[in-house]
């Protein structure tokens, strides 16, 4: 039994259909519980109640980056092994990643206004998220523009590879270009930087919730894409008969 078995659309549909309700339920429970727990945490001694936006901001930002990485891996699998499910999963993930990036940027702005006194700051992290958003937009637009599905998968795969290299360079270029005022890593375990357990555990819960939410959405969207491909294939055969 190899993992590549699930590259077969029928097996993928069967497995994803079976686990989807459980993943969706897990996503709902973890996200809601984590957010409610987060709201009930005490206000921070410096940032006040505004710190609670972190429970949306950090998981969304984390997913924004990880979804791009997932697309990169899926594109590589498609380009190397030609598994259609992989290409369709990358296509399905892109809009979710773009929305996660927007959530991270908007919640960041809403938090930055009272804390830093500005909605937007050309900080390296903010800048690289904006660039990441532009890459998501370009990737989605290329999928929409190319008519032949296999060509679209190939071209977007190449764009994803090249885009990953340049998104990474942009991140370090932005660090060189501006010193930045963004907080250090929220998950840092360095002594003195580690977040208090009061905030840490609800944050872990929302992160798990956002991951399961992404999994739910990407499974639903990939299933839709597979059905669309199958419909198109059946129609094409119908037209020829």
């Amino acid at each position: 039994m190899s993992i590549w078995e699930y590259a077969n659309p029928v097996k993928f549909m069967r497995l994803s259909g079976a686990i989807l309700p459980w993943v969706a339920a897990g996503a709902a429970i973890c996200t809601v519980a984590g957010l409610v727990w987060g709201v009930l945490t005490p206000p921070d001694y410096r940032q006040g109640a505004s710190v609670k936006i972190m429970f949306l901001h950090v998981p969304a930002a984390m997913m924004a980056i990880n979804i791009w990485l997932m697309m990169l891996v899926a594109s590589l699998i498609w380009l190397i092994r030609r598994h259609h499910v992989s290409a369709l999963a990358a296509k399905a993930a892109a809009p979710i990643g773009a929305v996660m990036t927007v959530i991270a940027l908007v919640t960041g702005a809403a938090w930055g206004q009272p804390t830093w006194g500005t909605w937007w700051e050309w900080d390296p992290r903010l800048t690289s998220f904006l660039v990441l958003f532009l890459f998501y937009i370009g990737y989605i637009a290329l999928w929409e523009a190319v008519e032949d599905p296999d060509s679209a998968a190939d071209l977007t795969g190449i764009l994803c590879l090249v885009g990953s290299v340049f998104a990474l360079i942009s991140r370090y270029a932005a660090m060189f270009w501006s010193q930045g005022i963004h907080q250090g890593s929220s998950l840092s375990v360095a002594p003195g930087e580690r977040m208090s357990a009061v905030y840490r555990y609800p944050l872990y819960l929302t992160m798990l919730g956002f991951f399961l939410l992404f999994l739910t959405l990407v499974l639903i969207r990939t299933r839709t894409e597979i059905r669309l491909r199958r419909t198109a294939a059946l129609q094409a055969r119908e037209a020829r008969q």
Partner: protein, 218 residues
């Protein structure tokens, strides 16, 4: 490969080749900025390096869709793909022709247009040097975008959308080098990074662009 480069140069300089359009656009852009910001010398001097870099980048973008689209329409691209020249080399030749006809005139003109924007004279050398190092990457990345969108009917706008994010690192280091030069500081660090990005582009992009062309031709 040389033949392809020479043919593209000849086509660009013949009537209807569009040679000089980018330069005209660059001039208009530099002339419009002071109308937008006001004629204050200090304001203009402080933004001049960035404006010149962004202007050069946008002027370069104008002619990108011509790199492969014309050859695709008249069938030349099919014939080049079946010729003894590897498609990777054809990409390099076409990007080089684009750089010579679009990038090089901008580099020559940039210090002149810098006068319009009150750029400090000390920055001129750094501006020209950073453009010389950075613009080949712009042409190559543009060739990659053009290769991705070559078969598409409405490829022009999509091309800008795909290429501009790829230009971010080059723009950051190029403008930073010029800015440091204008401030009388040593600009060698950003220039080294700029050169690194250009070299990476030269090493990586011909393969990616050739792969994209092969996909679009089939």
């Amino acid at each position: 490969m040389i033949a392809l480069l020479l043919r593209d140069l000849r086509l660009a300089t013949r009537a209807g080749g569009g040679f000089g359009l980018g330069l005209g656009f660059f001039l208009i852009l530099c002339a419009l900025i002071p109308f937008g910001t006001g004629p204050d010398t200090d304001v203009l001097a402080s933004i001049a390096p960035g404006i010149l870099w962004v202007g050069a980048l946008l002027a370069c973008l104008l002619s990108l869709d011509r790199i492969f689209a014309l050859d695709f329409e008249d069938g030349s691209l099919d014939l080049i793909a079946t010729s003894p020249i590897p498609l990777e080399c054809a990409v390099i030749a076409k990007a080089a022709a684009h750089w010579l006809t679009s990038g090089l005139p901008l580099i020559v003109a940039a210090p002149l247009f810098g006068v319009l924007l009150q750029m400090p004279a000390a920055a001129n050398g750094w501006l020209v040097l950073s453009l010389l190092i950075g613009t080949p990457a712009l042409s190559l990345l543009g060739a990659f975008g053009a290769a991705l969108t070559v078969g598409l009917r409405r490829g022009g706008l999509l091309l800008s959308l795909l290429v501009l994010p790829l230009y971010v690192p080059t723009l950051i280091f190029g403008a930073e080098a010029t800015r440091r030069g204008a401030a009388g500081m040593d600009a060698s660090t950003p220039l080294v990074f700029l050169a690194a990005i250009t070299l990476l582009t030269v090493a990586l992009i011909p393969f990616a662009a050739a792969a994209a062309i092969r996909i679009n031709l089939r």
